[in-house]
Amino acid sequence: MNLLLVFISAAVVNNYVLTYFLGLCPFVGVSKKLGPAVSMGLATTFVMTMTATVTWLIYYLVLIPLNLEFLQIVSFILVIASLVQLVEMFVRKVSKPLYDALGIYLPLITTNCAILGLALFMVLKEYNFIESIVFGFGAGAGFTLAISIMAGIREQLDIADVPEPFKGAGITMITAGCLALAFMGFAGLI
């Protein structure tokens, strides 16, 4: 039950994009089409889950025993950067079209603040190992959820009759805002 709570809290209630406004860059950048958006979500989910796992191990097995908590951020960034490299190689190997479609946003997962945020929150909330993995996976699922909803809406917006001044970035921001408002409805659930 506890694990389910952790998952739902990370994925929906405290959605990284729509509640904390972290990771907006890929959220806006890759949400033009549903296909790449979902793939981006999955890639991010993978990186998030792995990050949560590896950073937990590093934090509790290395940094704490050695009294090196202040190295938190540096070492977390190291982990994230390496994982993103791994994902990049993997995507390139498995699907070149996807690699091209994700383009610059793939390496940008490295600087996606949602991921560093995740690792830091994980420490703050003092999750145990299993909870951390679920937490990372939940955060990734939440990101995928948000970016897919956004991409779906934006695909519809392409054919919708948007007033001239709102076209492009304008309506995207408004949509993101409305989504965030909708997600505020979950606040306080957990």
Binding site: L63, N67, L68, V74, L78, V79, S82, L86, M89, K93
Partner: protein
């Protein structure tokens, strides 16, 4: 913070870094993508200057397009004919002859020849000067002299003469056309390297006005037109132009007949045939 802590910190970060880099290098071997070996070869054969004159982000992107057949090897304006030939051979394409283009500065209005009309104090850029008042030189058609063209050339092929007129080094020039775009007066043009006769002036004002601003301006006297019987030079809109269709090699030419010496042989006709 004690020394021990610092030591531990360094060691830990070092160990972590080493661990990840080993992991990544193993992964990069395992996950390496098979690339068409020809792609690498094409990239090597292209000039590698990444100037963007072909319209792609760089030589690698262009190589991909060539490999796919979207572009011709000769669409790289910078590559010399030898490497274009090699690329074509590599892909089994027909080799297309290409005469190299080089930039020609069609103006002789340096500080000696061109009069000064004002003192210009401002951003030292031809474009800026052109926009505000045309700079300090008197001719509204000719070189402004701040060297925007020199600044953009990625190959160091164009430099300013001591008197302030750009000179193209025809050996170094690759014909990429950056200077052509940069010049706000449009006095630089690309021409096949085997063209050696040019009217080095763009002034279309009437003869008297042209003469009054620059001693090397074309005064549309028509001597060149008459001397070639209209078969090579024509005066159009107060400016002599060379008709390269008719004006092939011989007979050279009324360069010495031109009273302001604005018809000039550029480069070395013997070598560049």
């Amino acid at each position: 913070m004690t020394v021990i802590t610092i030591l531990y910190a360094i060691l830990t970060m070092g160990a972590l870094g080493a661990l990840f880099s080993v992991g990544l290098s193993i992964a990069s071997k395992k996950l390496s993508v098979e690339e068409d070996p020809r792609l690498i070869e094409i990239i090597d054969l292209l000039p590698g200057s990444n100037c963007g004159a072909c319209g792609f982000a760089g030589c690698a992107a262009m190589a991909e397009a060539i490999l796919k057949g979207d572009m011709e090897p000769s669409s790289c304006p910078v590559a010399n004919s030898e490497s274009i030939e090699k690329i074509s051979k590599l892909l089994g394409l027909e080799v297309k002859e290409k005469v190299r283009n080089v930039a020609v500065v069609l103006c002789r209005g340096d500080r000696k020849n061109q009069k000064k009309k004002a003192e210009y104090i401002g951003v030292e850029s031809c474009l800026a000067a052109h926009l505000v008042g045309g700079g300090e030189r008197a001719c509204n058609w000719g070189c402004i002299g701040f060297g925007d063209c020199v600044d953009v050339c990625p190959f160091d092929a164009i430099y300013m003469s001591p008197d302030g007129i750009p000179v193209v080094d025809r050996d170094k020039c690759t014909g990429c056309g950056k200077c052509v775009e940069a010049c706000p007066r449009n006095i630089i043009e690309l021409h096949p390297i085997n063209r050696n006769v040019f009217v080095l002036c763009k002034n279309r004002d009437n003869p008297r006005l042209a003469r009054s601003v620059c001693s090397a301006a074309c005064i549309s006297c028509g001597i060149c037109e008459r001397a070639t019987g209209g078969e090579g030079f024509k005066v159009i809109d107060n400016l002599a132009v060379v008709d390269y269709e008719k004006y092939t090699k011989e007979p050279i030419l009324p360069t010495d007949k031109c009273p302001t010496k604005c018809i000039v042989i550029v480069g070395d006709p013997e070598k560049e045939k």
